[in-house]
Symmetry: C2
Subunit: 332 residues, 2 copies
């Protein structure tokens, strides 16, 4: 399955795929909590609860899709291993899923990947294959490894089993909280968004699903306007997980089912990260904080509503930031 | 009920009080999640899961006890309001509980309390009564307010209804996770510890309950050794919630039921806060991080065990710490 032009035939996943994925991955993933915040809610004038995928294994929803894809392979195919290229959470998620199944994983990472992310992959017993830091080098290296090993490519978001796995987030939200008027979902490649849309619009079509992306990575908004997948024009948003174009499989689902898309400013993302940490006591990475950023930036849109904001990941290094100064003055 | 010498008669709470408290507070508090961490577990050689009371309303378990105490008052008594002195989470918890019941709260706070904590109390519609920053001034001011208003004093930890409310944490843990070999609980005044001990030792006496306090606030360890409540000898641990002596009601329960107490270093508390944030994606205040600090400092004690570490609170300001640097280099 290759990202590119929209797949014009029927959607590659449906509700049944997501329900099956939920059964397959149940032993391996966390049913992440819904975390309500009175403080955030009272500040923003709506009932805000966070779907805390930052508390998922590997610190992101990516554990769901990767696990579903790996567990779904036939034994003989699985034995040859899986391969992907990723500088982010999918790399660790695939390494973990492969390790759970006891098969090899080949993870191609740009040589400038952060130490934290390299360490996460190594933590699951996988030594990354390093390549130059360009999209071309990543894809070429992954293809070379695939040909050498005959391993199965698990695309980070456009693989149907990955999309179905991410959709289990939507199933859980509907089971965990009621009433819910709006679900806010970050959009990068669209795997999480397409999965949640498929689940929610099948079961509770009246619940609005709103996508959020950074203004500096507004390719999904432009794609929806034009009706054709557009590439990002810049790659410098702090929300590094959302710098990706939509995929051939994710785009048609999003186009058909999405209620609305909101764009957020970089400063709003930073403010949302701080609010999540100080007011909701959750660590979110920038990509995971864009949903709260959207409520902050467009509060009138949400007044009085019951809103679930998906916090998609929490992998953040605090660097030299000193935690635990004397009470009342935690300044650094 | 006044803190001081041990209450030598039968314990002031039992399992039934805690079960009743669970029913009373259910509409007003969060059933906080158990958050497992594969990364922390694999580093420390035991199965670690966090009972995330940092995700409780007001950011700490204190919401439970305060709500139970306030909801348990007769209408005519409740109408005259409640009073307490606290520079910490109990202040916000009592303000919130009073606001939920629609009665006045008088919260005496030292004039040097942090802006964050003052703002938290004001956030629940209560203007604090400020006093000098000494224990004497706090108690005298609270007593003066009590006499003036005829409000009911709700002691932060030694009040039976507060202890019963905190004990609901223990009920939830036993319902939420199995197997569990050890539960680690921070100890300051002992309300949370006495409550959890009462619940756990009634239902699953074979589960070990281990208290954790800072070496710099080792009064509980000394009290247990000598068999008589000892005062702290210094008040400078970063775990500001644990700078308190045990109470007349909490001490006898702890003395009778506790399996073990561990003391942790200040640096271990800081390391644990960072590990909670970076590896488990939870924001813990220093007092909430002592339980993980104990596993870090004494890993051999826990090898191979299923450990629940209670993260009692998450109220932490990040001050000038900049969150959300470009991916891979979040240094500040």
């Amino acid at each position: 399955m290759i990202a590119g032009e929209p797949n014009s035939s029927h959607p590659v996943i449906d509700l049944r795929d997501i329900e099956r994925a939920a059964e397959v991955i149940a032993p391996y993933v966390v049913t992440t909590p819904i975390v309500p915040s009175e403080v955030v809610s009272s500040k923003l004038g709506c009932q805000v609860a966070f779907k805390a995928e930052n508390l998922q294994h590997v610190g992101a929803f990516k554990a769901r899709g990767a696990t579903n894809a790996v567990m779904g392979l036939d034994d003989d195919v699985a034995a040859r291993g899986v391969v992907t290229h990723s500088s982010g959470n999918h790399a660790a998620a695939l390494a973990r899923a492969a390790s759970l199944r006891g098969i090899p994983a080949y993870v191609v990472m740009p040589e400038n990947s952060s130490e934290t992310k390299i360490a996460a992959v190594r933590g699951y017993g996988v030594e990354p294959v390093f390549c130059e830091a360009s999209n071309e080098a990543r894809e070429e290296t992954a293809e070379r490894v695939r040909l050498e090993t005959d391993a199965t490519l698990i695309h980070p978001f456009d693989h149907p089993a990955v999309m179905a796995g991410q959709g289990t987030v939507g199933l859980e939200i509907l089971r965990q909280i009621d009433p819910v008027d709006v679900i806010l979902v970050p959009v990068g490649g669209g795997g999480l968004l397409a999965g949640i849309l498929t689940a929610v619009k099948s079961l509770r079509p009246e619940v609005a699903v709103i996508a959020v992306e950074p203004e500096w990575a507004n390719d999904a908004a432009r794609s929806l306007m034009i009706g054709k997948i557009q590439m990002p024009t810049r790659y410098d948003t702090i929300a590094d997980g959302l710098r990706t174009a939509l995929g051939a499989n994710t785009f048609p689902i999003i186009r058909r089912l999405l209620n609305e898309i909101l764009l957020v400013e970089e400063d709003q993302i930073r403010t949302a990260m701080r609010s999540l940490a100080e007011e909701a006591h959750l660590v979110a990475e920038p990509s995971g904080a864009v949903t709260l950023a959207a409520i902050q930036q467009y509060p009138a849109r949400f007044t009085g509503l019951n809103v679930v904001a998906v916090v998609s990941g929490g992998n953040l290094s605090f660097g030299k930031c000193r935690l635990g100064q004397p009470a009342g003055s935690f300044d650094v």
